[in-house]
């Protein structure tokens, strides 16, 4: 009995130490690999962040996200408690355990196993103030972790209690890691209870230990003590050894992810470095499953982001590519992710890596005709509407205030274009309709398909044409175009606006006046305008003035996808329709007169399915114009 207090060692610490050394080694190798894959500028950012005041923000974020899981609390209280009780409780057990050593056995602080198996090596009394406080704290946090693990077990059976319709199916590596994690704390509880008549214990371990003592009087030995500590140690080892190949890698990598994110590092164009940390940070919690419309409406569960990141991690390129080519990139999973994994960017990177062809001067055929400086071209016609410009000169005579770019999709829904032209005319704005007779694509579809060089070539062509008009404001009707014009194009001195923003500006400046109709309508946020570009307020401000706007549960960031985005080229048409039909049904559950959207693609998508009236915001405004 006394040698264990004197030696502070027992063979059962060996399994734990194997796991401990392994995890440390893994951590070093992983960190070196990540830093090696970062560009030099990002490495500098990482180093600079270490010595800046923002480090405190990072520590706060790590505390809030990794330990308390604040984002999950906001989704569901039960789920939040489950995650934070395990993470925060475990952290506190480690922290308080170390403090305890400083109090009672400062000379043992250098033994890494000592705090883990403290109760076995140390006898302490609950009669002292210090002792009783530590006993209470350790038992309290142990109870917290145990309650979390109990909830985790319940969640595998009754996930609806936790606000989840679906959760991930686990493969054997995840199962092994998860079951060993579940075992660690009950085993610790048993081991400490069985030892409590020697080393003392708190409200939980001591009271259970007394029960055990009562049994013990019949058996009259302490035969179960050491096997329990062995089991506890082995459970820890199994958990540590499976950690790098399981979902629980996120415990380590999420800390790094938050640090890198706060240091200002963003997704690169390749899936290593920061993006690699993101892949390992996916905890496979499955919170992205319910929002994904491929899963809920089109029964394409294997295409969900959580499966995608897993396939990327396991280098199952074929499955990962398939998921990437199916994904509509509506961003709903990214919004739902509590870790902040931008899986849409990861998919784009993967797609781009698969596009190996490049064509030099691929779109030079546009040059001669699309250049608005040229006469006789489709685009030039528009510029030469004024009589003096109609003369066959090579110069653009007038500089319009606004250049209007309808986009390819709007050409398929000409009512939007006509409405916009009427609005421009009613406001008395001098405008140029850049692609009236069919312009070229904005480049976003190519970008979403992974063809980055092709996209750049189109961007260059369009930039030239837009700057040549000399307009200071550019209005586009298609959110797909809007997104790339705003983010990727370098249009210096040109303000890029979506027509919802522009119409609102016109209304607020008093250039157009509208009357309010009694029509009941709901607004559908297009993915590219809402989640991708953050425009939620403007369309609603407009609609409040022109119709009786109703609310749906799918507003703002929770908006649904129409199923026909420019990504997802691999998705069959049937599946797209299933998504569209479901989205339309959900949004029109309470009957309305009209469903308003701000994207030609969404409009077409819903219009071909239902009998409901689907209209673009520009059409609605155009109808309600008060002409003076």
């Amino acid at each position: 009995m006394h040698e264990r207090f004197a030696n502070a060692y027992d063979p059962f610490v060996i399994p734990y130490m194997i796991g401990y050394v392994f995890v440390l080694a893994y951590l070093v190798v992983a960190l070196v690999t990540v830093v090696k894959n970062l560009p030099m500028s990002d490495r500098k950012k990482m180093l600079r962040h270490l010595f800046s005041f923002k480090l405190f923000v990072t520590i706060k974020d790590i505390f809030a996200d990794c330990l308390l899981h604040v984002k999950i609390w906001k989704k569901n209280k039960m789920l939040g408690y489950m995650h934070s009780s395990i993470a925060f409780g475990w952290f506190m057990l480690i922290l308080v355990g170390h403090i305890e050593i400083f109090f009672f056995a400062p000379h043992r602080v250098n033994l890494p196993w000592y705090p883990i198996f403290f109760r076995y090596f140390m006898m302490e009394t609950e009669t002292s103030v210090g002792g009783s406080v530590f006993f209470f704290l350790m038992d309290f946090f142990l109870l917290m972790v145990l309650s979390g693990i109990a909830l985790a077990m319940i969640k595998r059976i009754r996930r609806r209690l936790f606000g989840m319709k679906r959760t991930t199916r686990l493969k054997w590596n995840d199962q092994l890691a998860m079951y060993s994690l579940w075992c660690i704390f009950p085993l610790r509880f048993l081991a400490e209870s069985f030892t409590s008549h020697i080393s003392g214990g708190g409200f939980l371990t001591r009271s259970f230990g007394m029960l055990f003592d009562w049994f013990n009087q019949f058996m009259n030995n302490d035969a179960l003590i050491r096997p329990m500590w062995w089991a506890y140690s082995i459970a820890l080892m199994v958990f540590f050894l499976t950690l790098p190949w399981s979902r629980f890698t996120h415990i380590l990598s999420e800390v790094l992810l938050i640090y890198m994110r706060n240091a200002g590092i963003r997704e690169s164009s390749k899936n290593n470095g920061y993006a690699g940390v993101e892949i390992f940070s996916c905890s496979r919690c499955g919170l992205c499953l319910d929002p994904c419309q491929m899963v809920s409406s089109a029964s394409l569960r294997q295409m969900a982001s959580v499966e995608f990141t897993r396939n990327v991690r396991l280098r199952q390129n074929k499955q990962a590519m398939e998921a990437a080519s199916y994904c509509l990139m509506c961003d709903r999973c990214v919004q739902a992710c509590p870790v902040g994994v931008n899986s849409v960017q990861l998919k784009l990177n993967l797609k781009a890596a698969d596009v190996k062809y490049t064509y030099p001067n691929r779109y030079d055929y546009v040059e001669a005709e699309a250049n608005p400086m040229d006469t006789g071209s489709a685009w030039a016609d528009i510029l030469h509407r004024t009589p003096e410009a109609a003369a066959p000169t090579k110069k653009v005579v007038r500089t319009p205030e606004v250049v209007y770019f309808a986009g390819c999709m709007s050409h398929l829904t000409p009512k939007i274009e006509q409405a916009m032209v009427r609005i421009f005319e009613a406001a008395g704005v001098d405008f140029t309709f850049l692609d009236k007779d069919g312009g070229i694509c904005c480049g976003r579809p190519l970008m979403l398909a992974g063809d980055r060089t092709g996209s750049e070539q189109l961007v260059a062509k369009n930039t030239e044409a837009i700057l040549a008009t000399g307009a200071k404001v550019m209005v586009c009707s298609c959110p797909i175009c809007y997104k790339i014009f705003k983010d990727t194009y370098k249009l210096e001195g040109v303000q890029v606006l979506h027509h919802t923003e522009y119409i609102l500006q016109l209304m607020e400046a008093g250039k157009i006046t509208v009357r309010k109709s009694s029509q009941k309508g709901v607004y559908h946020d297009p993915c590219e305008l809402g989640r991708h570009s953050g425009i939620y307020r403007q369309p609603r401000d407009i609609l409040y003035r022109v119709l009786n706007l109703q609310q749906t549960p799918y507003e703002g960031k929770d908006a649904l996808c129409c199923g026909h985005s420019m990504a997802g080229e691999g998705m069959p048409y049937k599946k797209r329709r299933m998504i569209a039909r479901d989205a339309l049904r959900k949004m029109t559950e309470n009957p309305v007169d009209v469903l308003v959207t701000a994207c030609p693609s969404c409009k077409r998508s819903f219009a071909e399915i239902g009998t409901e009236e689907i209209r673009d915001i520009a059409e609605i405004v155009c109808d309600q114009l008060v002409t003076r």
Partner: protein, 112 residues
Amino acid sequence: MKDFGFGIKKSGVIDLDKADMSLMREIAAEEPSFLHCFYCGTCTATCSAGKYTGFNLRRLQLLIKRGQLDEVSERISECMLCGKCQWVCPKGVNTRHVVMLVNKKLHARKIR
């Protein structure tokens, strides 16, 4: 001999037994809707690129199915992937995916 611009016309006969159907098979395996095309030409009528060049998706699909890949590899890069053709296709052919696949497969053949 001086070239007067006249000559014997090449035979237009396509021997489907000897034609190179591998590209068609590869694409059809990854995008089954490729086989649904019934050559109505709606895609070509709406095509953004077709406004400026002779790019003709209907023709390219037909050529792939006949194994005449020369014109396909010459023209396929002109597509801007804007997706109008996909929207108007009455048979729901995933035209954007077909174009992507043709690009990828032809590139893989060149480097092989």
